[in-house]
């Protein structure tokens, strides 16, 4: 039963990883931008929520409603004012600039909040749990997982059923021809980053409620996000959710073998899948 329990806990953890991954996947899909600062932006979101919760004296769930538009606006401005200037045929400049951004965010958080671990206090719900047969499931992890499913479903809907999603897909296919349709690329990129940061805000707030965080943890969140994207297959949102779950389960099973194996076993499973299915388990089927 312990093993079944580990799989269930890992699946629920995978929802959080899927949210790390979704924002990363989205901007790579639309504008071929690899955002090295993504993990730090997740952590930044958690700190924004922390300050919001303290200033307003409300629960992190309420702060979420504020953090999402704040981070989305930040993402739009970041793209328009900084990242768009680096976009071109060469993928190296945006890579370097987001790397620099990552360093800046980490150090700014360190200066503002110190290196002490922080946590978003959600109250009694954090420890609430219910039993399904012999397995005990925490309410909080279930909420996180359900939110991840809703976020993925929402992104899927935006991509395939709205004018915005059409603009994203067209820009992803052929940037110059999309311009001919009257779509201003700089604005479309800004909107893509805004949406990515909205998802990041949700991921950051739930990260902060599930575990403690400090300014240095962004890097490993970036890696988990990358791994989930690659396992699931680039450009496939439901695949990204599956990738997150596989990574989460690999980690909890590894931890069950030996507590030190948690992160390692996730990497091993990732490398294995990359070796046998270089395009991921569920690559997008198109030309």
């Amino acid at each position: 039963m312990d093993w079944v329990n580990a799989v269930v806990q890992g699946t629920l953890l995978g929802g959080l990883y899927a949210m790390f991954a979704a924002g990363l996947s989205l901007i790579f899909g639309v504008m071929r931008l690899v955002n090295i600062a993504h993990g730090d932006l997740i952590v930044l979101s958690a700190y924004v929520a922390l300050s919001g919760a303290m200033l307003l004296g409300v629960s992190p769930f309420v702060v979420l409603i504020l953090a999402v538009p704040v981070m989305a606006a930040f993402g739009y401005l970041l793209q328009r004012l900084v990242l768009n200037r680096t976009m071109g045929d060469d993928i190296l400049p945006p890579l370097l600039v987001t790397f620099g951004l990552s360093v800046i965010i980490q150090n700014a958080l360190l200066a503002a909040y110190s290196a002490d671990p922080q946590k978003l206090q959600a109250g009694a719900i954090e420890t609430a749990a219910f039993a399904i047969g012999p397995i005990t499931v925490g309410v909080m992890p279930v909420i996180v997982f359900a939110t991840a499913v809703a976020v993925i479903a929402g992104l899927q809907w935006v991509f395939y059923h709205t004018a915005l999603g059409r603009a994203f897909r067209a820009t992803s296919d052929r940037q110059d021809i999309a311009q001919l349709m009257g779509l201003n690329r700089a604005h479309v990129f800004g909107l893509a980053m805004a949406l990515s940061m909205a998802v990041t805000a949700v991921a950051g707030v739930f990260l902060g409620m599930r575990t403690s965080f400090d300014p240095a943890i962004g890097g490993s969140r970036l890696i988990f996000g990358f791994e989930a994207v690659i396992i699931g297959g680039l450009g496939n949102l439901w695949g990204t959710l599956a990738g997150g779950v596989i990574l989460g389960v690999a980690q909890t099973l590894g931890a069950k073998l030996h507590p030190g194996f948690q992160v390692l076993s996730g990497h091993v499973v990732f490398l294995f899948i990359l070796a046998v299915r270089p395009r991921g388990l569920f690559p997008r089927i198109d030309g």
Partner: protein
């Protein structure tokens, strides 16, 4: 010549250090069909890309309804009412046939073209509207490319080698649709390798050679001789 809708004066265009157009000048009158011909590499596509804003140029070199547009971005040019059917069609592979058409009309410019009317012009597209655009045959893809441009209700429609790579019978059916497209005040520029085709659909013809205008005149009056001289420079 009546009031030109498009006026190009001394246009130079470059790809990096390479100059593709040299002081090119050309006028297109409102409501006419103008043909642009020329050998491979003469600069026809470069001219289309310059007018549509995909290549940015000196602002004053290109005027549309009197307004300088040479320095505008492609989306700004499109909003003014210029649409391009690009060489090689370049449909969006991730979008269905219908989505390709809808995105062509996403600026919401008013005018005669909408989905039902387009499906009446090309009925086969109505049948196949939910398949990915690039799953269609070459001729059907060209219909989508033309439809996508028409959906923006342009005042100036530019078509770059729409018959390239298509079977003669398909070319014929696409050109048969042309009279239903122009008219209603739409101005068109047709780029063609097929000289006879170009002359038969247009009222004026401009021939390019190595980035310069080598001939320009009324399509009904230019002689075969003058064209082959302008084409090959012999």
């Amino acid at each position: 010549m009546p009031e030109p809708i498009l006026s190009i004066e001394g246009l130079d265009a470059h790809y990096g250090d390479f100059q593709a157009l040299y002081g090119l000048s050309m006028q297109v009158a409102r409501g006419e069909v103008a043909a642009v011909i020329g050998a491979n590499g003469a600069g026809k596509t470069t001219l289309m890309r310059s007018v549509s804003g995909l290549i940015r140029n000196q602002p004053q070199a290109i005027r549309f309804r009197g307004q300088p547009i040479g320095g505008l971005r492609a989306d700004q040019v499109a909003a003014l009412g210029i649409a391009l059917v690009p060489e090689g069609r370049l449909l969006f592979p991730s979008l269905s046939v219908e989505e390709n058409l809808i995105i062509g009309g996403q600026m919401g410019r008013p005018g005669p073209w909408n989905l039902p009317r387009l499906y009446d012009l090309f009925p086969i597209l109505r049948e196949r509207r939910h398949v990915p655009a690039t799953a269609l045959s070459g001729g059907q893809q060209q219909m989508v490319a033309i439809g996508r441009a028409l959906m923006s209700n342009p005042d100036l429609l530019m078509m770059d080698e729409i018959s390239l790579g298509l079977a003669p019978v398909v070319i014929k059916s696409i050109y048969e649709a042309l009279p239903g497209i122009v008219g209603e005040g739409l101005t068109a520029i047709v780029v063609e390798q097929d000289i006879a085709k170009a002359l038969s659909v247009s009222s004026r013809v401009t021939c390019l050679q190595e980035g310069r205008v080598s001939l320009s005149g009324a399509s009904a009056q230019v002689t075969r001789d003058a064209i082959s001289r302008a084409y090959f420079g012999v």
